[in-house]
Symmetry: C3
Subunit: 206 residues, 3 copies
C-alpha cells in the first residue's frame, strides 16, 4: 500500500510541477528540474531530517524513471491537462494529501512523538512546493492564501487520531487524504482566510 501511495503522490506532483513550469515558460530542461524538485523535495527533506540516507529517491531508480515518464506525458498532453481549469491546484492537492500521509507514517515508524510526526507529515507534504517556489524566486506557496500547510496539519492530526483507534489502514489513508482535499477546496470556494494581527508599528525595516 505504501508503495502505491508513493507512486500516486509522485505522479500528482510531477503533473502539477510540470504544468506550473510550462506556465512559467521555462525551457525543456527547466520543466524536468521543476517536476523533479516538486515531486522529491518533500521526501528528501523528510529523509534528511530523520537521517534516512542515502535519501529515498537515490535508493530506488524507479522514482527517476517515473518522474521522467510522467513529465514527458505532461508535456505531450499539456493542453488536455490544462483543459481542466484548476488542474495544477487539483494535482497539487492530491500530492499534498498523499505525501502528508507518507510523512506522518514515516514519523510514527521512526518512533517519533505524535506532534513531531504531524510536523514531519506537513514538511513532507509542503516542501516540494516550497522548494519549487524558492527555485523560481517566488513567495512560497505556504504564505499564499490557499491554506496549504494548515490543510496538511489538519490531515496529519486526523491521521494520528484514526491511527490510534487501530482502524483498517485504508480507511485511515482515504479519510486523511479526503479531509485535506476537502479543506483546500472549501477554502478556495468560500475564500476563507486566517486572521491577521497587525502591530501599531509597521515599519518593515525592523
Amino acid at each position: 500500500m505504501f508503495n502505491v501511495l508513493d507512486i500516486l503522490g509522485t505522479i500528482a506532483f510531477v503533473i502539477s510541477g510540470s504544468l506550473s513550469a510550462m506556465h512559467r515558460k521555462l525551457d525543456l530542461f527547466g520543466i524536468f528540474i521543476i517536476a523533479f524538485v516538486t515531486s522529491i523535495g518533500g521526501g528528501t527533506i523528510r529523509d534528511i531530517l530523520i537521517g534516512n540516507t542515502p535519501v529515498s529517491w537515490m535508493q530506488n531508480t524507479t522514482t527517476m524513471y517515473l518522474i521522467g515518464g510522467v513529465t514527458i506525458f505532461s508535456i505531450i498532453f499539456r493542453n488536455k491537462l490544462d483543459y481542466l481549469k484548476g488542474s495544477i491546484f487539483l494535482f497539487d492537492t492530491i500530492g499534498l494529501g498523499v505525501f502528508t500521509i507518507i510523512g506522518v507514517e514515516t514519523g510514527i515508524n521512526a518512533g517519533l512523538e505524535p506532534i513531531v510526526s504531524v510536523a514531519l507529515g506537513a514538511t513532507t507534504g509542503c516542501f516540494g512546493g516550497v522548494l519549487r517556489d524558492i527555485l523560481c524566486n517566488e513567495i512560497p506557496v505556504l504564505f499564499r492564501k490557499e491554506i496549504y500547510a494548515t490543510a496538511s496539519i489538519a490531515g496529519g492530526v486526523c491521521f494520528m487520531v484514526l491511527y490510534s483507534f487501530d482502524l483498517d489502514q485504508n480507511i485511515t489513508y482515504i479519510s486523511t487524504a479526503m479531509l485535506i482535499i476537502i479543506i483546500r477546496l472549501l477554502v478556495v470556494k468560500y475564500k476563507v482566510s486566517l486572521p491577521l494581527f497587525t502591530t501599531a508599528n509597521n515599519d518593515l525595516t525592523n
Copy 2:
C-alpha cells in the same frame, strides 16, 4: 546550563520571528511558521551538517510546545513588545548570541577543529534568520548592513579563546554573548560598515 541557553535562544528567536511576521502582515499560520523556522532553522542545519539525526527539535517535544506558547504570547502582547523600539533587533541579537555559543560548543563536543567549530557556531546563529528571509523572498539578513555574521564569528572566536583558558563556563558564555550583542549595537549606533571592493567591470549579467 546548556538547556537554559537553548530555551533562552528559542524564546528570543520566536519573539523576533513572530514580530517580524506580523510586520509583514502574514496571517495566523504564517506567524507560527516564521516563528518556528526562525527558532529551529539554525540548529536544524547544524544537526544536519554534523549528522545528528533525527534533528534536535524532533527528539524533544518541549521545543514545539515552547515555540507554540511563546508565539501566542507574542501575538497577544504584540503592541507591548513593539513599544520597545527596535525590539525585533534586540531579540534577534540575543538569539544570535546564544545560538552562536550553542553551535560552537556542539562543534567542540563533536571533536571538530576550532575554525570549523566557529563556522558551525555562525551557521547555527545565522541560519534561522537566513531561512526566514528566504521563505519571505527577501535578501537574507547576512547581506544587510547590520554586520550579522561578522558579530557571530567574532563571538565564536572569543568563545574558543576563553574556552582554551579553561575558565568557568558561565564566564565564557556571558562574555561571548555580551561581545556579540555589543558589536551589533555599536555597529548600528555608529553606522560602521565593512569595506567594498568594486571592479572596473560591473556588468551584473556576468
Copy 3:
C-alpha cells in the same frame, strides 16, 4: 588525483563566487560568504544526501584556509582577473566540470545506480551556484539561458560511459571536464536554447 580535483574545483568556484559578489557590490564579509557558499555548497548537499556527515569541509580545515586565501587573492587581483572578459563564466564552468566528476565518482563509490550517480554529479556541480543565487535573491543559474545543468548531466553520462570501459582514470576525468566546458562555450557562442512548451492557458496565478 581526487584531492587535486577537489582543490582545482574549489579554487575555480571561489574565484567565480568572489568576482560575482564584487559585481553585486557586497561588502568584504559578503564576498567571503558568497565565495564560501559557492565553493562548498554543491559538495555539502551531496554529502547530506548520501549521509556522509560531518560533511567534507568540516573534516578538513585545508578547505577553509584555501577558500580564505583564494578569496583574498581574488580581491587583490580583482581587476586583473576581470580583464579576461567572461572570467566569471570561465571559472564557473571549470568548477562545474570538476565538481560534476567528483559527484559522479562519489555516487559510484557509494554503490549508487548509474542514473542516480549522474544526478548526484549534477547536484554537486550545480548547487553551489544555486545556493549563491538563492542567498542573493536571484533566479537560480539553472533556469538561465546558459544550459548549466544540461552540460553537467551530459558530462556525467560521458563519465559513466568511459568509466564502464575501464580506461585510464585521467582520460576519463579530462574528457568529461572538456565535454562540459565545450558544451557551455558552444551554447553561449551559438546561442543554442532548449525548446519551450507553452500552454493555451498561461495564467500564472494557477
